[in-house]
Symmetry: none
Subunit: 127 residues, 4 copies
DNA sequence: GTGGTCTAGACCACA
DNA sequence: GTGGTCTAGACCACG
């Protein structure tokens, strides 16, 4: 039985120029991918999270719902929201994150006529 | 004297979910970085570009201005907009693109507890 | 005299996204309709059911009450809750279930301009 | 170039006991599936729809976004929301609707020990 | 003008 | 107590 989790405002880095809920999705997804939020963990309630992040509850809910769509969270009516306990959903999510990141770098490389390795080499060049 | 350039709608791939002007910046920047638009080339006017891309002129203007800010384009009043011929501007831009792309992949890797190499390996794993 | 019944957690499949009590109603109703719970059978008490299903007693109570409303269960104070032995209640319930299901499929068919048979054919089409 | 569409309150049947946005999704999806909203059609803006349905704009937006997730709508920034012009997305949606409806009827049939055909026959029986 | 995000606050069903 | 829906109204970026 994994313990409940709590979080504080300072657990999250927020960039006011981007959608808040999107950043919550990213950061919670990263915590799950890192194993920091083990399968079955109960997340703080929408209201509690909203209070500790000093944000509107609907903003938190939007993030939770998006994570549910990604199969990373499940909510049990009246009981709260939990990290999925299907370990493959989590592993799949890690792979998807990795693929998206690598694909995006490869696309940029291709757009300037380089391979991924050449891109990495170029990034390390001295001024 | 490099020839003028024209472009067609199909030279650009657009994704409705992201700002148009931003996509123009990226794609023109890529053309410059690839040498497809050599230094000194005169770009089509904002009006012409907007017409051939079937897009709002202010969108094109915003893209050109952003590229000027990046020192990749220069505008001579009454004569038009040209690809910079400062030789290092282009190479510097290539390095900046590469660094940004690599840094972003590294950050994602770190956020799920991996190195860049591990991230690339994970992305290549089979289903 | 039909024997008492007991049930285990695994007799019920639950979907977190729908009301629990509603799913109990459906599943108990199905057991009765199938003859798996013969007329006159005594059901486990609300407390026992709640315990073995690891569920809030009020949830079970709500399900039992709904099944009473459907005339499929009757409660004798102090003696417990029993499957009705009015012979037509069960057959009527089967017909009602069938009609509701068919009507709902017909309505969906109509909403996309098909008959029920066309809908069934479309559902069987290959990808 | 498909004509714009407008709609009135009475084009929608609403059941106050179920989420509004969900009903909008269903009904717009049905209109698309029926061909009543041809590919490429521009939907009324969120604000206009909200006004004619006498509903809050965010409720309409939620419906539009859900339909976008289903690949039935695409939105072009600053220009509005359009029915996708990929005809296969629409046909796929029709099949999905049909399959879900049929599967649900089959499941109910199975739960009372019948086949789909027997269920349909039972539904047609006289009182 | 378009869609999108966020807030504050109400109300509901479910457990 | 939980999540979920809806409203009214503000503000923003984009075209």
């Amino acid at each position: 039985m994994p313990p409940d989790i709590t979080w504080q405002l300072h657990d999250f880095q927020i960039d006011p120029s981007r959608p808040l809920y999107e950043q919550f999705v990213e950061q919670i997804r990263a915590m799950i991918a890192k194993g920091q939020l083990p399968p079955g963990t109960r997340l703080p309630s929408v209201r509690d999270t909203a209070a500790s992040l000093r944000v509107n509850p609907t903003t938190v809910m939007k993030a939770y719902q998006e994570l549910e769509r990604l199969s990373l969270l499940v909510t049990f009516r009246g009981q709260g929201t939990f990290v999925t306990d299907a370990p493959d959903a989590i592993q799949r999510s890690r792979r998807e994150l990795a693929r998206a990141a690598v694909r995006s770098a490869e696309e940029l490389a291709a757009s300037i006529g380089l391979t991924l390795n050449e891109l990495i080499a170029l990034a390390q060049e001295e001024e």
